[in-house]
Amino acid sequence: MITFDEVTKRYPDGTVAVDRLSLEAPTGEITVLVGPSGCGKTTSLRMINRMIDASEGRILLDGVPVEGIDPPTLRRGIGYVIQQAGLFPHRKIVDNVATVPYLLGWDRRKARDRAMELLERVGLDPSLAGRYPFQLSGGQQQRVGVARALAADPPVLLMDEPFSAVDPIVRTSLQDELLRLQAELNKTIVFVTHDIDEAIKLGDRVAVLRVGGTLAQLADPKTLLSRPADDFVREFLGHDRGIRRLQFVPTSGLELRTDLAVAPGASGPDGEPWHLALTPEGRPAGWVPRDEPERLERYGTFVLGRDSLRSALDAALLSPSGCAVAVDGDGKVVGVATRDALDRALAEAADG
């Protein structure tokens, strides 16, 4: 666990970047620091591995004040990922990843083996190991940066806008990769971003900072969206806060109709303008309008129980019938959520 205890950072020119910040980053969780530019996110992060020293207050790592630890020793035990990856251009990828193991005096062969293992872990082709950083794309370099931070298996990982310099598609895949890795590794991660969507997607807990370096709110993403502490947080969360909140509402409680999904060749229930035609395997084939039984229209699906109400709503908006198709993990249809059912779920979510 990382503890900020009344931490203040005053730069020599008098700028107060962080002001009496107290917060905890629990072991095995992702704590995201988010806020507008200049609110002291980077400063807060870099005080943990003593790249910057606090002016007042203390930072504790599992109860031990970092100020008592020799900085290089401290840093070798903390993974650090920065925006531009910061790879060493003169070293091959495998040796970049093995940087900290080399520093810790690991046997060369063991360090390289570990590096190769990590390259695969972060989703990189092992054939890239012999390349130099300039021969990699930005997204690949960023993955190498993550692998390098994990190489010596540190319990703590600090990440400063690690994905902000890559395009949105690569960013999404890097975020997913991080969540997948974290599910396996259970590191204590402090993640800095100015992107509230990223914060909500990645954070177990999100700390919103305001300019001047004070904590505006610390909460899990769901609470943050449903109960912002003040106008500043509300504004920072943006206008579609309500919609985004739906991604934390489960679909397991949705009422489903099974009569609207019909086997191949059969006809739909009476009085319904649409029914869902199934394939012989039980997967959706398409929506069939009542008066044109030969037509198949677009449909949208969500995985029941796994996907959120936001996905279900999205699925409903994608099909002309206005209904969302619930499927199981194998893509087989388990039922249909009608507009009425979605409506009731939305009403419940709005109350909650």
């Binding site: 591995n49 910061g86 003169h90 012999g130 390349r131 021969q135």
Partner: protein, 240 residues
Amino acid sequence: MSWLTSFLGWLGEFFGDPANWSGPGGIPARLTEHLEFSALALALAVLVAVPVGLAIGHTGRGQLVVVVAANLARALPTLGVLVLFVLLLGTSSIWPVIIPLVLLAVPPILVNTYEGIRGVEPELRDAAYGMGLRGGQVLGQVLVPVALPLILLGLRLSAIQVVATTTVAAYTGLGGLGRYVIDGFATKDYSSVVGGSVLIVAFALVVQAAFTLVQRVTVSPGVSRRLKVRQPPARKENSR
């Protein structure tokens, strides 16, 4: 074409004369002298300028030294300094010549070493510290390898200047290839002048080539970006 025939004639005369290939005035001896003076001056300059340049570049302290050195290098007439030292110290030892050569060689090395280290991207330096490298390790394992092309450029510039100026040093009665040119002019022995000049030019070219080779060998392909993107599979690395 007559100039060419006489040029070739002089060359033949110079290089064909067996007397020019032996003894204290022979080509091997003069070449060795030239090489010794230049190498000694360059080595001393490197010993002074590289550590100072690294230290100033790494710590950011003492940058004034670099500015002064750079300006002095531009302001001082090498030949004047050379003659001054010889007048003051006499010609009984080689130092009156070596010292000005060192003074001449220091600024390019100092300035380029400093600029090379200073010019390394701050993010890279930051990442190195963030990984847990200590100050000396950051310098030795990251800054120097990345700044190496510029450091070597400084060395090459100095080497060329030293080699050229060593030629002029023959005026002071010292040895080296310059003697052929100077003595040749004095005795109107044009084959000696021409042969000496050719040797000097060739020597300078060899020095250049040597530095290019050193650069090839010591600068990481990741820094010089000399590689094509295709690489042999990494497995080779791994199975060692």
